[in-house]
Structures are given as C-alpha cells and as structure tokens.
Amino acid sequence: MLGIGAAHATDVFFSDIPVVLTASRMAQSPLDAPVAVTVIDREMIEASGFTEIHDLLRLVPGFLVADWAEGSPTVANHGLGDAYERRIKVMIDGGTVNSPLWGNTNWQDLPLRVDDIDRIEVVRGANGAAYGVDAFQGVINIITRSPSTQSGAGLISRVGRNGFYDHGFRVNGKLDQALDWRLSGSHRRAVNFEPYLDQQSPDQPNWNDRETVTRSVVNLSATAQVSAHDEIGLMLGASEGESDRGIPFSLSDPLRADDARSTFLHLGWRRSSAADAELSVHYYHQDERMRGAWLNTENTPVVIGRDRNSDVRRDNLELQYSARLSPSWRFMLGAGVRQESVRAPYMFNTGSTLRGTSSQLFGSVFWAPLERLKIDLGGVLEDHNYSGSLFSPRLAINYALTPESAVRFSAGVSYRAPSWVESRSEEAIYGNGELLRVFNKASPSVDPERVRHFELGYVAAFRELGLRLDVRAFHKSYERYIDDETCLNPCPPIGNIGAPARTKTFLFQNAGTFRMTGGEFSADWRKPGWGRVVLSQSFADVDADDDILDDDFTYSVPTSVTSVLLIKDLPGRWRASMGFYRHSVMKWLSDGDIVPEKARVDLKLVREFGQPGSGNEVAIVAQSVGGRYVDFHEGRFRHEPQVFGSLRLAW
C-alpha cells in the first residue's frame, strides 16, 4: 500500500502522487460540456437549509419538486410529473438508484445523508447518449464527499416544531495510511403531512392523508489508494424506517405504518495514469423492500386486502476506458450489464419474481479541430430486457467566443423504456376471494418513449464581475408518450382486460406525440465578503399533436419556474440566506392535481464558531415562512411551515 508515513525528503520531488483530479472526478467546465449542467455545490446545499436531498433540486432551472402523503416525494423537469416521476435518472456516485419497480426514485429511502454529499451535478435534459435508456428528462448525479477529505468526527442535531428531529453523526479514520473511511448515520423524524380537513363542500368535509416519516440511515464509505495509479472504493448504505400513513376515520384507507428498507452497495476500481487516461470498473447493487398492508372495510361484508409489499433489486456492472489520443482527440468507451428483479404480488398478480437483464455499449469521441471549436459525438446502444435494441446518439458542438464564454449546439435522440409497472402490471384487487377490479394494468405491448432534442446554449464567466451565466433554448419532440389512461372494462384498444365489466382501470399505453419548447437561464453572482446570489428561471410551452389520447399532461408543464438563493455574509461570522421558489399554475398527473401558482420562501441564519473551516455552527431555519401551502394536489395536501434549530460540532 502507498503512503507508508512520511515520504523521504528527496523522493517528494520525483515520486509519483496518486492521479487524483481525473476528468471523471472533476465537474466538467460548462464551457466544454456537451449538455446543460447545473452543479449544486456544498455552499448552496448549506445555505438552502434543506435537510432532504430531493428538496435541493428546487435550485435547478426548470425542476419541480412535490411531496404527497402516500409515497416518496417526486421530482420532475419541466412537467410530465406524477407521483412516480420516472423520466429523470438519479445516481449516487454514478450508480443508478431509480427504483426498478416504477422507475421513480424513492427519495426518502436513499441510504445517504445530505451532510455526506459533496455536490449534485444535474444534466437539465435528455442525455441518453451518455447515460443510456431512461436519461430522458434529466440526470441527477449525487456525488458524495470523499472520506480522504475529512478527519475526526462530527455531530449534527436538528430539532424543530411538530416533533421534527434529525440527528446525525460522522466518524472518519484511516487504516494503514492508504485507506480512508467514514462511517456516518442519522435518525430522522418528520411530520410531512398532518391530516388535512378539506371543507370545500361543507356538507361532506373530507379528511385527507397524513404522513409521518421516521428513517435511520447508516453509510460506510472507504477509499484505498493501493498504488499511485490505482484506487479502490467502497460505499455501503442502508436506510430503514416507518412511514405512518392513511386517513383518519377512513375505512378504505385506514391509518397504518409502512416499513421501508433499502440498501446500496458500490464497489469500484479506478486506474488513472493521467488526468485524462482512466480505466474503471464499477459494481453497483441496490435493493428495496417495502412492507405495507391494510384492510379496506368500506363495503363490508366485502373485505379487501390491500398491500404495497415489494422486493426489488438491481445489480449493475460497468467497465469504462477513456484516453487522449492526441491534443485534439479524446475518446471514451464502455460496456455494462444490468440485472433487475422485482417481486410485488399486488402489482403483477403473481407471487413470482420477475427478472430482466439488459446490456449496454457506450462511447464518445471528442475532437477539437480548432482551439475554439469542440465537437463531441457520443452514443449508447442498449439491449433492453423489454424494449430490445435502442440506440441513443448525440452530437454537440461548442464554440468558444472568448476564453470564458462559449455557445453550444447539441442534438440527439434519447429513449425511455417502460418500467416494470408500465410494461407488466396487473394490479388485481380481490375482495372475499373475488376479483373486484384491476387498478393498474399494462397494455400487452408498450413501446419505449422517444425524444428528439435540440438545444442552443450560451455559457460565460465574467470574472471581474464575479458572474457566471448559463442560458439555453430547447426544443424537444416526444413520441410514444406513455400515460395511464382511465378506462372502463372493456378497455379500448385491447378489449376485455379480465376485470368485471364497467370497472375502472388505469391502462398504461403509448398515448401520442407532442413537442415542448422553452428556455432557461441561471446567473450565479459571487462577491467575496459580500455573499452570493444564484438565480434561475425557466419557461416552457407544450404543444400536443392530434393523436394524443388525453391532453391532461399539457397542464403539467408550468409556463414559468423560478428559484433564487441569496447568501449574505455578515460580520462576526454570521451568515444569512434566503431561498425563493416559485412556479406558475400547473398540474401534477395521476394521483396529483392542480396546484395554484405558489411561492415559497425559506430563511436560514447561521453562525460559525471555533476554528475557521471546522464546520462548527449553530443555525436556525424557517421553511415556508409565508405559511401553509398546497402541494401536489390542491384538494388533498397542505404543507405546514417548519422552523428548526441546528447545532453542528466537529472534532
């Protein structure tokens, strides 16, 4: 192992040092990136006051975040979102963590604490050519902090109103000099939704769902520099806890406690001989276990047993090689194989485990024929277990106007294969042994969604002003959009689906074509000693074709989404920050509904103490200071404002 204590004094001038800052480790300069990328850095994470990962996505131009009481929060980009938004690929250190069942991300169950995140890199659009099938509306890569950059131990405790708490710890250590490790964990409880009494019809006031989430997370991360060029990494995370759900006084949806457990394992080996020459092998494993059952006694004597019991897992092995051929040519090649298995008897009407294996070949070539001109051509060929062969190509051209500004044109095709639910579901509901209805049902054949995307971007840094700009206009043309259309059996176009006649079913099927056009800009201004302002604004418009089965989804695209994060340095090591998040009226699809135009304002005041850079701080955070607000469904969900204090100590 490397690093046996201090180096010999003379050797330090000539000995190898591990090639640490490789192209894959560093965030790509926006001037060179073939796609629009937003980086949420540690400073933004801290200043936002958010304690959950999904909330941080509010800082990304065009991104929409909502929570509901019956499941995980949901994140969408420019609309098309429902409770199980599955068009954004989400990764932890490059390993996909979308749930294989729906294809969505169970944000509350990610085995990772916000405090262990170094930064979040977000591709604000389709990028199937780099990330494969399902990188359809965006890619979120959550990058964890390397244990090599921490030492000692830390504690954080957040306590707020309505029984909210979030206590966390971290311990860092070294083994054999070359192995750095971190063990961290947290225990959290939050009342996301108190039961809400909808009194819109005074004769029949409706109680709505509650949700209280308790989660324990433990995460072990280790890296070993086994030679100057070889690094081995391990990350093992687990999350477990209960979600108290259900509706007070309801016979159909009584109060209950769901139990969720998830684990994530990442083993990686990386050989870097230079900053742009790297061979890496990664193995990722993810599994999720959900247990939640209740009895619907609304129509006694018929008793309906319902559950959300599921066990899913994904194993993914990936090999990648990148190198520079000459000063103007660079390439990357890779291959991967992925196996998914899902067992959810309630959803598939079978006790069997369904399995599928998919494989990928991917590559890209980067060519700079002129100093100012960069051309990036890439693609992924995927053999998907359900959708067959899919090829996602992309061409990007970056032209530097000045050393610190560039325009970008990119065009490509990306796919989204239907998830297990969209392609195989048959959610049969039985009462007293008889089939009463089929709730969700997949059509016999569901084709993958396809989007052709074009964008024109401009990025610039005005160093003297401390300002960075990122502007883009995009046009996307969607085909074979997958939607769950309501039908009464027999359901056109497939006919009798095996359920009793005239019973209602949500049928997953290809539902037509449409186009989306829009623009985004973000400005990041920073002045040392004063603070920082990060502003993002997006506009979008959707235009459905005649073949669309239901134009409901057009309302899911808000015309305008805004976020502002203001960070103000104050004397005496105080710092204040304000987050402003607003979107125009929109509709969350399926389980969701209309949400009026809303603005949310969060405030944070923090004071550091102890050694500079130690991380010791005391803070108070107020979320949604404007009061209670509607989320996800106007008639059903209200978020209460939150105020909490936090204390962080490090040794």
């Binding site: 690093g3 180096a7 004094a9 003379t10 330090v12 090639v19 480790r25 520099q225 900053a275």
Partner: protein, 312 residues
Amino acid sequence: MRFVLQRRSYLRACLCGLALLLGFTTSSVAFALDVAVVVSQRDGVHKAFADAFMRAAAGLGHRVFDIGSPAEGLDDVALARADLVVASGEAAAELALARHLRPTLVTMIARSRFEVLRSAYPQAALSAWLLDQPVERQFRLLCAVVPERMRVGLLLGDNIDAEAALHAAAADVGLTLATRQVRSEKELIASLEEVLSASEVLLALPDPMLSSPTAARSILLTSYRYQKPIIAFSRAYVTAGALAAVFITPEQVASDLIDWLRTQDSTRVTLPPPQEPVSFEIAVNRQVARALGISVADDGELLRQTAGGGQP
C-alpha cells in the same frame, strides 16, 4: 519547457578549448580533475542525473569515474584519489563520506536532508546542489498563473522555522500568507480546511510529511472541494491535479553542476555554499485550470514571469 538562465557561453567554451590545447599540452590529463560519481540507485532519476553529468564532465576533459552505489559497493581506491566526489542522492553521499572525506558535492537532495548530512559530517568538505527551488520563484509562478489571487494558503510541517522568511518573500511580491503548522497527518485536514477558508490559492512546499502520497491525495481532493488551485513543486503533483509547479529535472541539475565545474581550476576545486537550482522547468495542468474556471497564460509567458520577467 526547458529554461536555463545561465546559458553556456560559446566564447568561453572556445577559450577553454584553446587553453587546453596550448597551455596544457604536455600533460592535459595530469592537470584534469579526478571526479568520482556515486549514485544512490542505478535507475530512475539518479541514473538520469549521472548519465547527463558524466557525459558532460568528460567533455570538459576531466577524468570521470563511476565508482559505485550502495547496492554494489564502492571502488575505495578511486574514491580516495578523487579530487571531487559527486554523490547523487543522500544514500550515495553517506556511503562515500563514511569511507573517505574527499571534497563532496551532493546532488539530487532536498535542503532538509542535506542539513542532516551536514551536521553528521561537520568536518567534511561538503556542499550540495539542492532540489528545492527558491521560494521566490514559486511565488513568481503563482503570480503568473493566478495573478488575481493574492491570499495564499500554506501548510508548514518541519519547515516551521522558515515561516518568517516565507512571509517576507510573499510580501515582496505583494502576497499575503495564511499559514498553519501541521505536526502530524492527523491534523492535516483540519489545518488544511482552515487555511483554505482563508486563502484563494494553496502553495505546496516539499515537506516530507505533507508530501506523502496519502497526504498529497487529501490535499488535492480537499482543495478541489474548496475550488482552490494548488501551486506545487513537482511534475507528479501537477499530473495528480495541482494547477502548476516549478521544479528541476535531473538533466538540469547536471547542467547546473557542469556550469559551476567549468568555473573551477583544473587542479583543485573550491566548494561553494549549497546552491539552489539555477535552471527550472514548469508544468501546468490545463484540465484542472479548465475545471476550476481559471484562464492560465501560455507556457512561454509563465516561464518569462517565473524567471523574474515581471508582469506583461
């Protein structure tokens, strides 16, 4: 990117050649120096130095002997007769000094190690061509690479005694230093974060503890987290992720030494005080510059400014 400040004078070489031909024709060999070369290792940087030095020294007319290495042992007779011993590396110097105290020049050695050697052999005629670049040169490179960054972070290990001199050298070029001493690797991250919080660029000095592969790795990763560039002292550091470095190659050490040897009498040598490198090379990691959003001038301009050519 080779840059030699003291260039070989063609005229001086001609005159030397003429003198050799006319003045010492009776026994030019008799008045040449016996130069014994000892290397710490037979490969790598010591071989590169020895090859370059022996070729050039022989070209000056001296008798140059390769008398061994720690692994092979020494030619004792040749060592005892040598007018000058050139030892490449600390191990080579220790081997030679333990046998005979001949006038010895140690090359390919860090200042801190030479000082240890000096105190172990106080009676020896001993000097060195050091690997440590003058810190003023590192500061000049820093100013050339990131001219707008005036607050420089610096971690000090055993070289804490040099703190006052470092502050003074920084002040001379308009920089201010944020320093912190690290007594053990356990303190590294906390000290580093403190220094990074108070600075715009980190200067890495060749301290043994702070330059071990694991320490360097932590420094590189943490500095990147803070989006602060590192100005370092070796090509390997730049390959690993530092923004830029100024350093000397083994061939340049040989060249510096040859330039000095040319000034010596052909019958005996007078050892100078320990010498800092005259020659230097620079390296820039432009990928890191790109990732950190830093525009760096071209190599020619950086060399000019690092050599003391001032602002453009």
